[in-house]
Symmetry: none
C-alpha cells in the first residue's frame, strides 16, 4: 500500500472552534510504513455524502481511514455509509454485543438498547477491539485496497491505530518508509529560493529513489522540505544527506538550519561555541528578540541581559545613546542602532551587543521612513554589521521579521568570525 | 447561498506536523452570514485531484472556497486546477503584473520572471487585491454558485475574506446569521469555569432563541464562547448582551474581556485611562511581558522601558536589587520580585513597576522551588501585589503563563485603584 486518504466524520468538526487532530497521528504512523496521505476530508454526520466520499477515495488511494461516527446514536452514520459504499450488508455480531454488555455491567449499568447499533458490522469485516470505549473499530479488505474505521476519541482511536499499523500495514509495506529533512533559509524570498533550488531538485525527481521537494514561506524564513520514500533507511539518509549538502552549497550562508533547529537555537549554539555572552537593546521589537533567545533551554549560559528602550529617554539613560545623535539622525537610523548595540555590549560587559530600532506601525511612519522600516546593528570583537530593511505587514509581523533579521545578523557575524579564525 | 465547502491546497498540510487552520476563520465568517460549511478537504499540490475536487464540490454546495497554491512556483497549482474544472482559459492580467512589480520595487528588488504566474486569471474572474502579499485572490461566478480562491498565508487571506463576506456574501444571505460573543477569564481553571457557568447557560438552551455555550481552555486563560443563530441581528445582540452581563456578575473581576480584546490590550487601556506609564523587569519571561505589551498599537504612549535581567549581576546593576537579598532569599523569591518591580519603577521614574522571576526549566529546579515556580510583583502609587504560582508544562508554556500572570496582576491592581477612587 502506498497511498491513503483520511475522512473525519462529525458535524462538530465543521464549527469554527474545532479541528480534526486525529489525522496528524494517523499521518505520522502511515508515513512510517511508507504510506503517503493524499487527501484529508472533514464531513458532517451525513450518510450519503460519507458514502460518496468513500467511493471516490477508493478510486484514488489504496487505503481509506475513517474516524468518528461510530457511536450508538442516529447521528453516527459511518457504519451505514461504508456498508452502502462497499455494498456489504450490515449484520449484528453477537460477540460485540456481549463485549459491550460486559463493559456496561462492569460499571454496574445495563446496556441501553441503542448500543446494539455499535455491533452492526459490514459482512466480512474484521473487528478491532476498543480497549478504551464501546465502539469497536473495523477493517474491511476490498481486493488490494482496504477501508478502516476508527472511533473519534483519540484515546480510543490510538491503540487501534497502533495495532493496525503493526499487524496489517507494516507487513505489507516491505519495510518502506518516508524520510524527511527540512532546510531553513533566512534573508531570501520564496521566489529567489525557488529559482535557486529548482534546477537542483528537478534532477532528483529523475533518480531511482526520487526526492520530493516542497518550498514553504514561513514568517521571516523559507523552508525546503525534502522527502524520500524507500525501503532502505540507510539509503534514504544517504540520499537526503547528499541532497542537503548540494542545497547548502547552492545557498551558502543563507541556510541556517538543516537539522530542525530554529534560528534562536542556532544563534545560541554559535554563542556557546565561542563562550561569548550577548546583550540586546531593543526598541520596536519590544523584547521579542530576547524572549526568543530565552525560549531555548540553557540560554542563561549566554544571555546576559536585555534593555527595551521604548522611549528616547530610556535610550540615553540605559544605553548612553547621545541625545544629539537621536536629534540629528532620528531614533530610527543606522547611527542610533549602532550606538544602541555598542551601549548594550559595553554597559553589560559582554562580547556581542545588538541594537534594533524601527517603526512597527500602524502610526509613526513618514515618507522618508515609512512603517516597516527597521535598522539592526550587531557589534562584536573587531566586527560590526548594520542593516536597514523595510518589512511588509502589520505591527506584529513587522516585529517578528525585525527579530528574525536581528537574530540572523548575529548568526552571520558569528559565522564570519569563525571563518576568519579558520 | 446556504452551503459551502473549503479546500485547502498544499502538500505541506498533509505532513504530520501541519494543520489547515485557515478553515476555522473562514467557517466563522461564513456562519455569520448564514452559510454552513458542509465539507473541508486538504489536498496536496496535485492539479488533477484539485480540479476533480472542485467539480465534485460544485455538485453539492453553493460556494467553494480554496486556500493556498497561489504562489509563483510550479508547486502552486490552484489557478490551473480551477481553470480546468470550470473550463475557463487562463489569461495574464497586466494590472496584476504591474502591482506585483510595484511591490518588489518598493523593497528595492526586481520582480523575478516566475512571479508572472501569479497574474494568470481564469477568464471572467474578479480579482481580489492582496494588501499583504503578491498573490491576488480570485472570485468566479458559476451561475448561482461561486468559486473563490484565497492565498494560504493567514495575513494575506483574512483581509480578502472580510471583503468577500462584506461585499459579496452578506448581501445574498437574507439576514440569517450566527452571532457570537467571547468572554475571557484569567486565573481560573476550566472545571471552575464550568461549575460556575453551567447552571446559568443550561437555562439559556431552553429559550426560544437558544444560546449555545462552549468552554475552551486556551493557554493561560479560559474562554466562554456564546453563539445564537437567528435572522434578527438586534435580537441576537440583545440576547448575547444579557447573557454576557449575567456571566460577568457570576465571575466578577476574573472576566477580563467580553469584547474580543486581549489581556495586553485591556491592561493598555487601563494604563491609558490613568495616564500612567509602566516599566517591566523580567527574568524568566525573558522580555515576553514587554513584547506582549508592545504588540498593541499605540503602546509607546504608556510603555516606558523593559529590563531583562537574566543574570544576577544584571539584577543588581540595572534594578538595584541588593546582592544580600538574592543571597538570602534566592533570585526566585517574593522579596527579589518586589525589589525588581520597585527598581524598575524608580529607575524609570514611572507609576507602575513590574517584576517577574521564576524557573522556566527544564533545568534549575529544586525540591523547594521546582520548575514552573514563578513570582510576580507589581507596585503602583500606594499599592503593591506579590503572587507566587507554580505552572505546569515545558519552558515556553511556563514563560507564557508567567507573562499572563504578570499582565493579570497589573490589571487587578489598576482595577482596585479605580474602585478605590470610585
Amino acid at each position: 500500500m502506498k497511498s491513503a486518504e483520511i475522512i473525519a466524520v462529525g458535524s462538530e468538526l465543521l464549527t469554527p472552534s474545532r479541528l480534526d487532530t486525529n489525522s496528524l497521528k494517523i499521518t505520522e504512523r502511515l508515513n512510517a510504513v511508507g504510506i503517503q496521505v493524499r487527501l484529508k476530508t472533514v464531513v458532517g454526520d451525513d450518510r450519503a455524502t460519507v458514502a460518496n466520499l468513500v467511493e471516490a477515495a477508493l478510486t484514488r488511494s489504496d487505503l481509506v481511514v475513517l474516524t468518528g461516527g461510530l457511536g450508538p446514536t442516529d447521528d453516527d452514520v459511518t457504519r451505514d455509509a461504508v456498508s452502502e459504499a462497499l455494498a456489504l450488508p450490515l449484520e449484528e455480531d453477537p460477540r460485540i454485543v456481549e463485549r459491550i454488555q460486559q463493559r456496561f455491567e462492569e460499571r454496574g449499568l445495563r446496556m441501553p438498547e441503542i448500543n446494539r447499533r455499535q455491533a452492526m458490522v459490514p459482512r466480512g469485516a474484521s473487528v478491532l477491539e476498543n480497549v478504551n470505549g464501546t465502539a469497536p473499530g473495523l477493517w474491511i479488505d476490498c481486493g488490494d485496497k482496504a477501508v478502516v474505521l476508527f472511533p473519534g476519541p483519540p484515546r480510543e482511536m490510538q491503540p487501534m491505530l497502533d495495532l493496525v499499523v503493526h499487524e496489517r500495514l507494516a507487513p505489507r509495506s516491505g519495510g518502506a518508509g518516508v524520510y524527511r529533512r527540512v532546510l531553513r533559509i533566512a534573508g531570501r524570498t520564496e521566489s529567489h529560493a525557488e529559482e535557486r533550488a529548482q534546477p537542483i531538485y528537478s534532477r532528483w525527481l529523475a533518480g531511482a529513489t526520487p526526492i520530493e521537494t516542497t518550498i514553504l514561506a514561513a514568517p521571516g524564513q523559507i523552508e525546503l522540505h525534502l522527502s524520500v520514500r524507500t525501503t532502505s533507511e540507510n539509503e534514504a539518509r544517504a540520499r537526503l544527506e547528499a541532497a542537503v549538502t548540494e542545497l547548502e552549497a547552492a545557498f551558502g550562508a543563507d541556510v541556517f538550519s538543516s537539522d530542525g533547529r530554529s534560528l534562536e537555537e542556532v544563534v545560541g549554539g554559535l554563542l556557546r561555541a565561542r563562550a561569548w555572552r550577548i546583550a540586546v537593546a531593543e526598541s520596536c521589537t519590544g523584547g521579542l528578540v530576547l524572549s526568543r533567545l530565552t525560549d531555548v533551554p540553557g540560554s542563561s549560559d549566554y544571555v546576559e541581559r536585555g534593555l527595551v528602550a521604548y522611549s528616547n529617554r530610556a535610550k540615553t539613560e540605559l544605553l548612553r545613546v547621545p541625545d544629539d545623535l537621536i536629534v540629528a539622525d532620528g531614533a530610527v537610523s543606522e547611527p542610533v542602532a549602532l550606538a544602541m548595540a555598542k551601549g548594550a555590549a559595553s554597559t553589560a560587559g559582554v562580547a556581542i551587543g545588538v541594537g534594533v530600532t524601527g517603526i512597527a506601525g500602524p502610526g509613526g511612519g513618514s515618507d522618508r521612513k515609512p512603517v516597516g522600516t527597521v535598522v539592526v546593528a550587531v557589534v562584536g570583537p573587531e566586527m560590526q554589521r548594520v542593516r536597514t530593511f523595510r518589512f511588509p505587514g502589520e505591527r506584529r509581523q513587522v516585529k517578528f521579521q525585525a527579530s528574525q533579521l536581528a537574530l540572523d545578523t548575529v548568526r552571520r557575524l558569528l559565522l564570519e568570525d569563525a571563518s576568519r579564525d579558520g
